[in-house]
C-alpha cells in the first residue's frame, strides 16, 4: 500500500523529469548555437544569448538540469522513507521557486522576450512548489 505522501513524492519525481529533459534541451541549445544567433521564430536566442543566461561562467540551463536531477533524486529517496530527503526537497524547491520568479521577471521586463522552453521550466517549478506545499501541510496536520 502506498500512502498519500509517497504518492505525492512520486508525482514530484515524475514532474521533475519533465524539467530535467527541458533543461537538458536548453543546455544543448545554449552550447551549440542558439547563443550565437538570432531567429525570427522564437525568443529563445534572445534569452539564451542575454547576459542573464550565464552565471559565473556556467550556463543557467546547466544549473537547471542539476537542480531538476536533485529534485528527482530527493523525491525518490523521500518516497522510500528517507526523512531528511523530504526536508532538503522542500528547501531546494523553495530556492527554485524564487529563482523562477526572478527569471520570469527578467524575460518579461528586461529582455522583453519569452523563451517557451524557459516558460515550461517555470511551470514545472510552479507545480513542484504546489506539491511541496501540499506535503508540508500534511506533515503539519
Amino acid at each position: 500500500m502506498t500512502s498519500v505522501p509517497q504518492r505525492l513524492y512520486g508525482i514530484a519525481a515524475a514532474i521533475s523529469l519533465v524539467g530535467l529533459g527541458d533543461a537538458i534541451y536548453l543546455t544543448v541549445e545554449h552550447l551549440t548555437g542558439q547563443s550565437v544567433r538570432c531567429t525570427i521564430s522564437h525568443g529563445c536566442s534572445e534569452v539564451l544569448s542575454s547576459s542573464y543566461a550565464v552565471v559565473a561562467g556556467v550556463p543557467l540551463a546547466v544549473l537547471g538540469a542539476a537542480a531538476y536531477f536533485s529534485v528527482f533524486s530527493l523525491a525518490i529517496l523521500a518516497a522510500f522513507g528517507y526523512r531528511l530527503a523530504g526536508k532538503l526537497l522542500t528547501v531546494l524547491v523553495g530556492i527554485m521557486f524564487l529563482m523562477t520568479l526572478w527569471l520570469t521577471f527578467l524575460q518579461a521586463f528586461v529582455i522583453r522576450h519569452f523563451c517557451q522552453f524557459c516558460l515550461l521550466s517555470a511551470l514545472v517549478t510552479l507545480v513542484l512548489t504546489g506539491l511541496v506545499i501540499a506535503l508540508w501541510r500534511r506533515m503539519q496536520a
Binding site: L17, L20, G21, I24, Y25, T27, V28, E29, L31, T32, G33, S35, V36, R37, C38, T39, I40, S41, G43, S45, E46, S49, S50, A65, F69, F72, S73, I76, L77, A79, F80, Y82, V110, R112, H113
Partner: protein, 230 residues
C-alpha cells in the same frame, strides 16, 4: 534487501538516461548544421539565379581580395553585436586578402528597433558614411536596444559621423532606403537565411557550428585562402 537499493538504482538509471539524452541532442544538432563535406566540395549557396541584393553593396576591403565574407546582419541582434569586434580583428589580420560585405537582414518580428537601425545605416550610406554608422550602431548596441524610442539616439550618431542632418532625417523614412533594405531582404529570403548573423564565405554559407567555435571563422578563412593559391 532489494528495497534498500531500489531508490539508488532508479536515480542511477535516470542519470544515465539524462546523459544519453544530452548526447543524442548534441549529435542531432551537429549533423544538421555541419555537413561532413569540405567547403570546396559543397555547391555554392548563392548562384547567378539568386537575387543580388541592393546594388552597389556595402563593401569594406579590396575588390581583388581572394576571400569575400558576406554578412546578413541585424543591428539589434546581440550575437551580431558580438561578431562585430571579431570581424574587425579578422579584417586587420587578413588585410587585403579579406573583403567584407554587409547585407540588411533586420528581424523585425524579434527586435523593435532593428528596422529603424537598418534605415539609419542605409540613410548614412546615401551620404557615403554607411560603415561609420554601422560601427556606431554595433558599438553602442546595448545603449539603444532597450530604449523605448531610438530615433533620437540614431540622430545623435548621424551628427557624430558628420551627416547632413536635414537630408538624413528625410532619407530615414524615404523610399531609397526602403528599396535597399527590401532588395537585401529578397536576397536573404531566396537563400533561406532567417537568422542572424548568417555569413557567406565566397558564396557558401558558413555553418552556425563554425561560428559557435572560437576561431572557427578564422580557420574557415584560412582554408579558403589555402584553396585559392599562394
Amino acid at each position: 534487501m532489494m528495497k534498500r537499493f531500489l531508490p539508488f538504482i532508479i536515480i542511477g538509471a535516470v542519470l544515465l538516461l539524462a546523459i544519453g539524452l544530452g548526447w543524442m541532442l548534441v549529435r542531432s544538432t551537429e549533423s544538421s548544421s555541419e555537413t561532413k563535406l569540405p567547403a570546396e566540395a559543397r555547391p555554392e549557396t548563392s548562384n547567378s539565379n539568386t537575387p543580388s541584393g541592393a546594388n552597389p553593396p556595402h563593401v569594406r576591403g579590396e575588390a581583388s581580395a581572394p576571400v569575400t565574407l558576406e554578412e546578413f546582419g541585424d543591428f539589434q541582434c546581440p550575437p551580431c553585436g558580438g561578431l562585430y569586434p571579431e570581424l574587425k580583428k579578422l579584417e586587420a589580420e587578413f588585410g587585403p586578402r579579406l573583403r567584407v560585405i554587409f547585407r540588411e537582414r533586420p528581424l523585425i518580428q524579434a527586435h523593435e528597433h532593428a528596422l529603424l537601425a537598418a534605415r539609419a545605416a542605409e540613410a548614412a550610406g546615401l551620404q557615403g558614411r554607411f560603415w561609420e554608422m554601422h560601427d556606431q550602431l554595433y558599438e553602442h548596441q546595448k545603449d539603444w536596444s532597450e530604449l523605448k524610442e531610438a530615433r533620437t539616439v540614431f540622430e545623435d550618431y548621424a551628427r557624430l559621423v558628420g551627416l547632413d542632418m536635414e537630408r538624413f532625417k528625410r532619407d530615414l523614412d524615404g523610399p531609397a532606403v526602403e528599396t535597399r533594405i527590401f532588395l537585401d531582404g529578397a536576397r536573404a529570403h531566396a537563400l533561406g537565411f532567417d537568422s542572424t548573423p548568417t555569413l557567406m564565405l565566397n558564396n557558401r554559407e558558413v555553418p552556425f557550428a563554425t561560428l559557435a567555435k572560437p576561431d572557427g571563422l578564422r580557420a574557415a578563412i584560412n582554408t579558403a585562402l589555402s584553396g585559392t593559391g599562394p
